[in-house]
Symmetry: C2
Subunit: 188 residues, 2 copies
Amino acid sequence: MSVRQSLLAILDQGPCYGYQLRHEFDRRTGSNWPLNVGQIYNTLERLERDGLVERGETDSQGHVYWQITDSGSSEVAQWLASPVVRGTVTRDEIAIKIAIAVSLPGADAGALIRAQRIESLQRLQSLQGAHHEDVASALIAESMIFAAEAELRWLERTEQRLAGHAPHALALALTTERPKRGRPSRDG
Amino acid sequence: MSVRQSLLAILDQGPCYGYQLRHEFDRRTGSNWPLNVGQIYNTLERLERDGLVERGETDSQGHVYWQITDSGSSEVAQWLASPVVRGTVTRDEIAIKIAIAVSLPGADAGALIRAQRIESLQRLQSLQGAHHEDVASALIAESMIFAAEAELRWLERTEQRLAGHAPHALALALTTERPKRGRPSRDG
DNA sequence: ACAGCCATGTAACTTGTTACATGATTTT
DNA sequence: AAAATCATGTAACAAGTTACATGGCTGT
């Protein structure tokens, strides 16, 4: 919902045409969320469908201005007043992938974690090495840095945990419960 | 890609029928990624379309077994051997939302950050309060805890930064560059 | 008989994303 | 004149998600 809501919030500042909207979004996010131009027009159509924006005037240069509706404005107000609420569940690709790898007797979860640590460390260093002109870039980069650091700490901790037990100890623990009518051929 | 790849990896251990697959996924992720049953069948069809799994035998109870193909197996091997690579960009809803809020002169970014801190702190506490039977739940919960802590630290830091400057200083800095042909009515 | 779980599927939808077509304007 | 940028759109797709229909089996 980020793109949709962000574009709506920008339109709440005043009418925009598509290309201008893209420029605004880019500027306000320090170009940290690359946006294909086409997506602007898709999103505008979807917002129009939902009654949150309206097609406005077209100026002499042919720019099609879009304006927010009352319904759209109140949605923006609500969005800006309420926090993002993450459920009790995860959508983290790395955590899920490693949990799955740990559960597979045939897989080398340790190797995966080490590979991930190298990758994540490289990313962290590249994030830390960059310097930022605008505040938006700085804020977002910092959030990525904090997240990458947390990711690395978790990877290290998980690696140690796995190493602390006998090889495959975790996998064995995980495979103790078998599917009720599982076939004998599963899980080697 | 997490669901798709995870299901494929489970099928790499041996044939499964849909419902069983769901059970396996649930178990291996400690039920931390709630999966609607229907999604299993969708995903299986898409995997079949891509030549990664095949419809196998149906047993006496009517269970439709699916088996992985060679192509699917090698994709699993590749998946498990390579880290998740996050681009140089973010897809973090909170960071983007706050960057947008900071850029909007009319919005109270400080209030949003405080609301987010309360929400994120509550989530962190609820995560910390839970105890986990299985290793998968423990791993994933820990990854969420680390991420939530990083999120909170970033929120605190960002709040302090914003407070450190004169009110709207950041917003003003951000709105210095104007869109080239922006209309005078935009941004106050 | 009825409630609830097991099991398979279908259809529709959301957000994000990309590729492509088209033409005007601006810069080199 | 050619290249680059501005500008608007269309069509299709990916991955995840949900709601619903259908029927069998199981336990009370």
